[in-house]
């Protein structure tokens, strides 16, 4: 990994000397040599202090900017989990000390703040991130600093890092079951609508491959720029294609504009159902229940899931943040992530990154969604897929569920039709 540290330093120095005032640099060059003789492995997780009664962990969510809408909710449920754990005696007897940083909805800020949390605050693990861009930006940081990130949102798969635990769904736990469900319902043609970024593009690649293998016709594939607000043209295209169903990977505000247009144009779940993978309970209020009632979603958790753990989770969450608040899949996945980390640490009896990685395999947690288990190979979580239908109260009710938890398969290696996708 570090082929030519010393030579590198000197040559880079020479390079800058060529460009700059030589005197100032020569002085510094010497300094750099002494300071940087040994590249230290220990700048990262090595500085985690576990000697006291507390241990620091970092929460890194966008609390400002466009993504604050979604990420604030994740932050709330992380806080809930942390206070529950602390009330219950902490982790390995140490109280959790939370360091909160704001990702400001910008990937570069996520990278910067992740570095800060790891190297300056010396946290044992970081929880957060939402967009793929923010995760991609943080990944090199966690790998080079050898620290841990718990990422709580369903995503496009095709990734696996020893330093990241993915507690949301990968594609074979959300997209593929969604398609299975539609195929089961006799859907023979699909129209794909998505925002123009990595998740929808990748999801639609998978959908196309699946459709080809299963005799489903894809009648159209449309992308709208993030934040796009005028969907009349796209809805016109959807209408004239007249598919059996629409697979919707739109993100954020665009869903509101899309569904308002969709229902205003007289389309509804009866003539052309829409299966969405980015609309959770949290978003339904903003879209307006009347516009999405009866439409389908694919997730691993709904507020209505009937488990004792969920009842307790919803109750605790609403007690903390208000009875009008709803819980959603990413919030639950974030809540789980803290407990899963706790499980790993307690199994390893150590906060050390390598020990935690070692212990991760098989750690499970009786989550609100049901029991989830960490896959030690790819650091994803075995989860049950749930197809839901949006009710008139704005909550989502399970319509169909997979036969037990699905093992995560981020590269879709277990699916013949997906060959060549990654």
């Amino acid at each position: 990994m570090r082929p030519r540290t010393h030579a590198g330093t000197r040559s880079l120095g020479a390079l800058s000397i060529a460009a700059l005032a030589a005197g100032a640099l020569t002085a510094c060059g010497a300094q750099v040599d002494t300071a940087g003789g040994e590249p230290s492995e220990a700048t990262g997780a090595g500085c985690v202090d576990t000697s006291g009664d507390t241990v620091k962990i970092g929460f890194l969510n966008s609390l400002s900017g466009t993504m604050a809408i979604s990420e604030q909710t994740v932050h709330d449920s992380l806080q809930l989990a942390a206070s529950e754990i602390n009330a219950d005696g902490g982790v390995l007897g140490k109280e959790l000390e939370i360091v909160t940083e704001d990702g400001q909805s910008e990937p570069t800020v996520f990278a910067e703040k992740a570095t800060k949390l790891i190297t300056s605050d010396c946290v044992a693990a970081v929880f957060g991130g939402w967009t793929s861009a923010s995760r991609k930006a943080m990944l090199p940081v966690f790998e080079s600093q050898d620290s841990l990130l718990f990422y709580p949102v369903q995503y496009e798969g095709l990734e696996s890092s020893p330093n990241i635990f993915y507690t949301g769904a990968t594609t074979n736990q959300q997209i593929v079951p969604g398609l299975d469900y539609l195929a089961e319902q006799g859907v023979e043609s699909l129209f794909l609508v998505g925002s123009d970024y990595v998740f929808p593009r990748t999801a639609n690649k998978i959908i196309n491959a699946y459709a080809e293998a299963h005799g489903i016709e894809v009648l159209g594939e449309e992308y709208a720029p993030l934040g796009h607000t005028d969907f009349s043209t796209i809805v016109n295209k959807v209408r004239s294609a007249d598919a059996d169903a629409v697979f919707n990977t739109l993100n954020g505000d665009s869903n509101v504009a899309f569904f308002k247009e969709y229902s205003n144009a007289g389309l509804g779940p009866d003539d052309m159902p829409v299966l969405s993978v980015s609309i959770a309970e949290e978003e339904i209020g903003g879209i307006g229940v009347e516009n999405v009632e009866g439409q389908l979603t694919a997730w691993n958790y709904y507020q209505t899931v009937d488990t004792p753990e969920n009842a307790a989770f919803v109750e605790a969450f609403q007690a903390e943040y208000g009875a009008d608040r709803v819980t959603s899949d990413p919030m639950e996945a974030a809540y789980d992530s803290l407990y899963l980390w706790k499980g790993m640490v307690e199994k390893a009896e150590s906060f050390d990154v390598a020990d935690v990685q070692e212990a991760a395999d098989g750690v499970s947690f009786d989550a609100p969604e049901g029991t989830v288990t960490v896959n030690g190979d790819n650091h994803h979580i075995a989860k049950t897929a749930l197809i839901g239908r949006i009710g008139d109260d704005g909550l989502i009710y399970t319509e169909w569920s997979s036969d037990g938890p699905i093992e995560p398969d981020p590269f879709l290696e277990g699916y013949d039709w997906a060959e060549g996708l990654s």
């Binding site: 400002s64 607000t229 505000d253 308002k260 247009e261 949290e282 903003g286 307006g288």
Partner: protein
């Protein structure tokens, strides 16, 4: 053929949305030279007004009709406040108004986030606007027809007000020659305030109308502000006519480009067309020639 008509309507409808967003700017930027980046946030304020009104009144059918004039007043008052505190000292620095109002926009967005919460909220469309009118195979959503109507009414009212009322004559007089108007006894301070009030109020109306189409959140305005300015610039300042034509043309272009390519490409293409167009006509579509150094 049907799809052609559908797209034609989609374009006109998008044009009417852009027109609503740009009409107020045509006054404040076109007539007064103030580059108000907070115009989008005034729209947002209008949208939240609709949300609050619905919460108070409850009935969706009436609340929309109440929210429209109320949105005008809310937007207008915000504009008035902005004019009185900041803008009035900056008429000789048009470019600086852009930056100041951008700061105002940032603050207003965060205020909305702190007051109404980060998640988007929804305004229910009234019963009489749900569904669509179908002519042959062409479907025209009623909400879009309504917005088209609102836009037409706003343009008509504004042009009549500018042309036929003493108030409008005062506005035009000050715009055309501030010094002359002042020596003729027109209070330019008062007229400035009034113009800004009306321009910002129109943003409020646009915001209320937009609740029928999209989400209501703190960043509602930012999605429209760049387009709205382009409409005014392409239309040429000083005349409502240019703004109307430019908004319609932009809407149609976006709709047809989007139909034949993708939404992203269409947006880029529209920008390119406008830049190219301004090469041909740097002063926009409709210009009022003055002797001053343009």
């Amino acid at each position: 053929m049907d799809i052609l008509l559908s797209q034609l309507f989609a374009g006109l409808s998008l044009g009417s949305v852009l027109l609503l967003a740009a009409l107020g700017l045509a006054l404040t930027f076109g007539q007064m030279g103030v580059i108000n980046m907070a115009h989008g946030e005034f729209m947002m304020a209008g949208a939240y007004t609709a949300f609050v009104v619905q919460g108070v009144i409850g009935s969706a059918g009436i609340s929309l009709l109440v929210a429209l004039p109320l949105g005008f007043v809310v937007g207008g008052l915000l504009g008035l406040l902005l004019e009185a505190t900041l803008i009035h000292r900056m008429y000789h620095r048009p470019l600086d108004t852009l930056l100041v109002t951008w700061g105002v926009a940032l603050v207003l967005q965060q205020v909305a986030r702190d007051v109404f919460g980060a998640p988007n909220v929804d305004v229910t469309a009234p019963e009489w606007l749900s569904g669509a009118v179908t002519i042959g195979d062409v479907t025209l959503p009623k909400t879009r027809l309504f917005i088209l109507t609102v836009a037409i009414v706003c343009v008509a009212t504004l042009s009549i007000a500018l042309k036929a009322t003493p108030l409008g004559r005062r506005i035009r007089a000050v715009v055309q020659n501030r010094d002359l108007a002042e020596t003729s006894g027109v209070s330019s301070r008062g007229t400035d305030r009034l113009t800004f009030f009306i321009g910002s109020g129109l943003a409020g109306i646009a915001g209320v109308a937009l609740t029928l189409l999209g989400s209501i959140g703190p960043t509602l305005g930012t999605s429209y502000i760049v387009d709205a300015f382009l409409v005014v610039v392409a239309g040429g300042i000083g005349q409502i006519k240019g703004t109307v034509i430019a908004a319609t043309a932009l809407g149609l272009m976006q709709a047809f480009f989007e139909y034949s390519t993708t939404a992203s490409v269409a947006k880029v293409l529209v920008f390119v067309v406008i830049v190219a167009f301004l090469q041909v006509r740097p002063q926009g579509l409709v210009t009022v020639r003055t002797r001053s150094l343009v």
